[in-house]
Symmetry: C4
Subunit: 230 residues, 4 copies
């Protein structure tokens, strides 16, 4: 019944090792079917090279399993929280990809330093605040979603214009129109995270010009975009 | 009519992923036919693994499409500006290759620190000035070419003796006798950019001796060159 | 007689080049059969691509060769010292893997900076003290084991909760329930060692919250663990 | 007549791209036949993937071509100078391998920071002094050999106990009992050069204990060596 959704989610998950974004099982992709109000997500702790479409777990938006015999990713409550808060999202990916995780561990925003960043992210990529002891002790994964949402609301950010975040002390989440698009953004995030570290090593105070950032974002994503084949 | 030119341009573009210089579609190579006053260039936003010779776009030097049904790279006006200003150039490549882009983001010249650099580049690789708000707002891509030309003229540099530049906040352009030669120089640029970052980490003030730089450049490119099979 | 043990040890050793943890022959995995009081270990200085099951050496816990015609790894006395002191260990791996060795050379603990670390290691990964001249001169390899044991006892650490160490000036040892599990932990060690270097470059004073570290370790390894398929 | 020598030299040269030590044609291996007083070396500027045994050039110790139709590597006079000064050497390799070249560009010795280094190099790997203007202007490649020899004599080093050097502003040379052994040492050099950069980033003042360095070097290379199968 959810065969096509599950196949897309499997394919998106298998892109993670292809792009070098995961070690062992450290990542998961989900996709939402907004019409039927269900998500499909990777099972918890299953290796990518043995995963099949039947291992993908389908849940309703309250986290009840609709289809599948395995436990869903332990990060499922974070995905659900984000889908409920941001109706624009069609797919979400969480990894511990190397350089994005470094920024998360440094508890720092990833600064916008060049047009590679600006082509995909409209401004700095936010780092969340730390969770409180209480937020860690109870409903930790749900609260991880809540601090992401809080950060985007506090900064008044459109999640599709800044399609990634780093959770302080933890790692990145990316999203997009669907699962594959979310993974695409996770690849870009990793590359800009890596370049930002090296850039700040050479020139600690640099930041992209606001006008150049606007130009690159808008020539690709704005109303009068002229990048690509349209 | 432009079949051979288009095939050379396709081949040069396909070298970019082979050499690890591009993520997704972030790069483009062009080549000029000076006799017929046309250039051929990669189409905008097309993936390398599905690109065919028929996707390559042929334009005149005013940017009018002569052959091809796709939009040319959005960086085409930069390429055209460089071909018009520098009659020595036969091919141009633009990428967001990792370490060269780091120097662009740092808004810094890539200093000549060793003979690997000197074998290909006669002195530091310049970083352009930032574009003004006005230059970004109108004819941005053409003005990107213009600041490159301005930088080479201000420093009185021969573009074939320093066959690369980094555009501040953006990324590198390289060039050469033809498209493949431009890509070759882009590979060298990336390697020297990477080594320069690590070198400055160990020894922040170091720079190559002028005599050693001259020796290496001239034994390979000078009138009495003796490197290789001649 | 020890065929199954030797095959497991061969397979675990061959994982080392697969995971990029070794250059040439710089690594070794052993596994213990507690019932029969024997260990099996890689022979000294033999290349991975020519190693066969018959090359694996079986020894008793006093280091006497029971089976095999080659010299065992020169690090065998370190493995034996650890197996005797820590009855929880089923497998041990020693490598000179790049980033873990960097921390060993820096004579520094690998600080716990994020949940990637906390998912596998309960707190910082210790660096041993330097060996004395005397400890280096006599029974060096046995004393390498002794300083590891001393460090875990001094800090009151459970070796299965912190399944790695870096030996000052030398490199890492990891362990686990068996040889393959030890190699798995060595892969994680290398990844967290690498991320820790880059993290400290951006933010020199950062450390993971204690509560977040506990949460991640315990949701995976605690009595009420809910990560994976249980 | 020199077929076996040329085949060994070809094989050793082809190891350079396999080990990731070269970009394009930036490296060369030679081997000497002491009985017949000839060396064989890579031709200048020839790509590795088209090189055949007939391209290898055989020369006498004065640099006269004995066999072969191509120009020998432009670094041939450096190789010859080293073979004449150090009768222990059987093979020599020159590359611009990434991290060793970084130390050359930094004009700094590669400090001995751990046992990986000590297993192969008895103490720091020296960096030569800069060449004078005069030494660069005339017989540059021969003088490159001369400053290497000067450095080893000044420090009273045995070239087989410290089988590599970095030439200031240029890059590394390694050597060994034959061509393949020289390449082996070049791989180790690259790895220890890389680890030393990261180590000094974490702990700027660290150096290996003298006793630990001695122990590791001597257990592998000393009169009573017990590493490997002997």
């Amino acid at each position: 019944m959810y065969q096509a959704l599950k196949e897309r989610v499997l394919a998106a998950n298998l892109k993670l090792p292809d792009y070098g974004l995961v070690t062992f099982t450290w990542g998961n992709v989900s996709e939402i079917d907004r019409e039927r109000s269900v998500i499909a997500i990777k099972p918890s702790g299953v290796e990518y090279d043995v995963m099949t479409v039947n291992d993908i777990v389908v849940l309703d938006l309250n986290g009840n399993i609709i289809e599948g015999t395995l436990n869903p990713s332990s990060d499922t409550p974070t995905h659900l929280e984000l889908y409920r808060a941001f109706p624009q999202l069609g797919g979400i990916v969480h990894t511990h990809s190397h350089f994005a995780t470094v920024w998360a561990q440094a508890e720092s925003d990833i600064p916008a330093l060049g047009t590679t960043h600006a082509d995909y992210f409209y401004g700095d990529i936010p780092c969340t605040r730390l969770l409180s002891k209480q937020e860690i002790a109870e409903q930790y994964e749900k609260n991880t979603g809540a601090v992401i949402i809080e950060e985007f609301q506090r900064r008044d950010l459109d999640p599709l214009a800044v399609p990634s975040v780093v959770v302080a002390g933890h790692g990145p989440f990316s999203w997009g129109k669907n699962g594959i698009d979310a993974v695409h953004n996770a690849v870009v995030l990793e590359e800009v995270a890596s370049m930002a570290i090296a850039t700040r090593t050479i020139n600690s105070g640099v930041h992209i010009q606001r006008e150049l950032s606007d130009k690159h974002y808008l020539r690709k994503h704005g109303a009068n975009a002229y990048y690509g084949q349209r």
